[in-house]
């Protein structure tokens, strides 16, 4: 992990990072990744796992009648830093 890598992660994550901060973060990431890399030691015996014990599933709600169109629009749009009528306003993309 080096400064350049941190700066490119910043671009990927859409977070502006200053050079000196990237330098500092690169050293912290070295230490953190060294620690979390330990997980590779645990995966050898995955065959032992009984998948039945994994309790993660979705419970879906009824696909019923939706609320009336537009009744929440003002509440939501009023939070936006920039708006035009019923839309979020952003700088042009292209």
């Amino acid at each position: 992990m080096d400064k350049q890598k941190v700066l490119s992660l910043g671009k990927l994550a859409r977070i502006g990072i200053r050079d000196e901060e990237a330098e500092k973060l690169s050293h912290e990431f070295e230490a953190i990744l060294g620690y979390v890399g330990e997980v590779s030691k645990l995966t050898a015996k995955e065959g032992d796992i009984n998948k039945e014990e994994m309790l993660s599933r979705n419970s879906m709600r009824e696909d019923g009648s939706p609320h009336e169109s537009g009744i929440y629009t003002e509440r939501i749009i009023s939070q936006a830093p920039g708006r035009q009528e019923g839309y979020f306003k952003v700088k042009k993309v292209l």
Binding site: G10, L12, I32, V39, L42, L55, N58
Partner: protein, 475 residues
């Protein structure tokens, strides 16, 4: 004036029903305590301006004979839970100015139960931290020693209860954020089973781990709050119906201690001695103590620091300067994203988003995220197997009492180690409670410590039962 630190929710409800005091008098006492103590403690980011009118409404209902579990009870909520029409910032600058457009399910359930919601409490930014020092609005101080942290990330919710400003509060727990501050402030904090409490309207951190739970002075207070907020919710597809957690096997008063895990790490000698006394006390209460072998537990924290940042990097993508909160103007849309997120997020949020982006990126995904998912399954399987022989697992909540403000801010990894004992319950989705276990002397100060009881999926009742017996509360 009513002393909130001296009464439980149950006692307050009795007094309200008997007319010994009114909900308004109780709320006034809460506000007065906040006015006196909070300039130093800083548990609250905001005390709502309608507290007394909420209390008056409760008094009307009490007069009309209504009897809901929290009617007239002053409680606080963590700043990452939405209350319709009120601000919520999750302790972050990026959400300054945001007004909740709807109620989170947990908070709506508090309101339905008659609670008087006093305000929103300080927290580490987006619940990332173990001390509240990562709050964009400054740290909360520990009521037991104001030079120390109250723990985190629900440090404001814990300090507000411990200082007698409210009778109970809600926190959220992704890796220990309810239980660790409860231990550091000498109160009870509980993380329910994953899927027990709806997260609808909770500002998400790591969605496979986050749970909302109660903080209170007594086990019964925590249980009362938990009973109010629990239940399946069509607005959170991960919530499960009653009976989803399998057969009741019956409580056999058997506690497993993962001795190797507990003793391997650098534990404060006073905490270690205290833990020995805790085990003896459980024995004297008729509990069988078994040594359990859990070789994968020491890896739980490493697993956590892969899965959590990965989910953080995805969940926090929504803060983009377009939909709500802060926008920093830039030349074009990309510049606005970079500047808004660069300036709006504090250092720990930035650190975790970048780390999560790294472990999910092409070429590293398998080595980190894939391995961590597989390790999560192993840890879960190992713990669930252990619960075939024991009702509960017991460890200290933290390896040491509360640390000094500033002590760990320079070294993120040392801060992360605060979650060592609490994280396994999040990884495996298990219910877990921190119970006060006396004080230890550190630097001439008497500081509270907690013990952590963890049970199999859906067995919250075991936590409450053992917690009550240990604390000498009526069953």
């Amino acid at each position: 004036m009513i002393d909130l630190s001296a009464i439980s929710i149950k006692e307050a409800r009795e007094s309200l029903k008997n007319g010994e005091f009114s909900a308004r008098e109780l709320a006034e006492a809460a506000l007065k305590t906040i006015e006196e103590k909070d300039p130093e403690i800083r548990a609250f980011l905001e005390v709502y301006d309608d507290v007394l009118s909420q209390a008056d409404l409760a008094d009307k209902k009490i007069k009309a004979g209504e009897d809901t579990p929290l009617l007239g009870i002053p409680v606080a909520i963590k700043d990452n839970m939405l209350l319709d029409g009120k601000r919520a910032t999750a302790g972050s600058k990026i959400l300054v100015g945001f007004i909740a457009p709807y109620n989170s399910t947990a908070v709506r359930k508090l309101l339905d139960a008659g609670a008087v919601i006093v305000g929103r409490t300080n927290m580490d930014e987006f619940a990332m931290g173990s001390s509240t020092e990562n709050s964009a609005f400054g740290p909360t101080r520990n009521p037991s020693d104001t030079s120390r942290v109250p723990g985190g990330s629900s440090g404001g919710s814990a300090a507000a209860v411990a200082a007698g400003m409210v009778l109970g509060s809600l926190g959220s727990d992704t890796g220990g954020s309810i239980r660790q501050p409860a231990a550091h402030t000498g109160i009870v904090g509980m993380k329910p089973t994953y899927g027990r409490v709806s997260r609808s309207g909770l500002i998400a951190m790591a969605s496979s781990l986050d749970q909302i739970g109660p903080l209170g002075k007594t086990i019964l207070d925590a249980e009362t709050l938990y009973e109010v907020i629990r239940g399946q919710d069509p607005m959170d597809s991960t919530t499960l119906p009653e009976g989803a957690y399998g057969e009741e096997k019956g409580f056999s008063k058997t506690i497993g201690v993962p001795r190797e895990f507990v003793e391997a790490e650098g534990m404060d000698p006073a905490v270690k001695n205290n833990f020995g006394r805790v085990i003896e006390k459980f024995k004297s209460l008729g509990y069988k103590i078994k040594d359990i072998k859990t070789p994968s537990l020491p890896y739980a924290l490493a697993v956590y620091y892969i899965l959590m940042p990965a989910e953080v990097s995805s969940n926090l993508a929504r803060f983009d300067g377009v939909k709500y909160g802060l926008r920093v103007e830039g030349e074009n849309l990309l510049e606005e994203y970079l500047q808004t997120r660069g300036e709006g997020f504090g250092i720990e949020a930035r650190r975790r988003i970048l780390l999560g982006t790294y472990v999910l990126s092409s070429g590293y995904y398998d080595a980190y995220y894939g391995q961590a998912l597989s390790a999560k399954r192993m840890i879960t399987a190992e713990l669930r197997k252990a619960f075939k022989d024991v009702d509960l697992m017991l460890t200290p909540t933290t390896a040491a009492p509360a640390f000094k403000i500033g002590e760990k801010t320079a070294d993120p990894l040392s801060m992360y180690l605060e979650d060592l004992f609490t994280v396994p319950a999040n990884i495996a989705g298990l219910p877990s409670i921190s119970v006060p276990a006396g004080n230890v002397e550190t630097d001439g100060k008497n500081l509270p410590v907690g013990i952590l009881l963890t049970a199999d999926l859906g067995k919250e009742d075991y936590l409450f039962r053992a917690g009550k017996e240990f604390s000498g509360e009526a069953l």
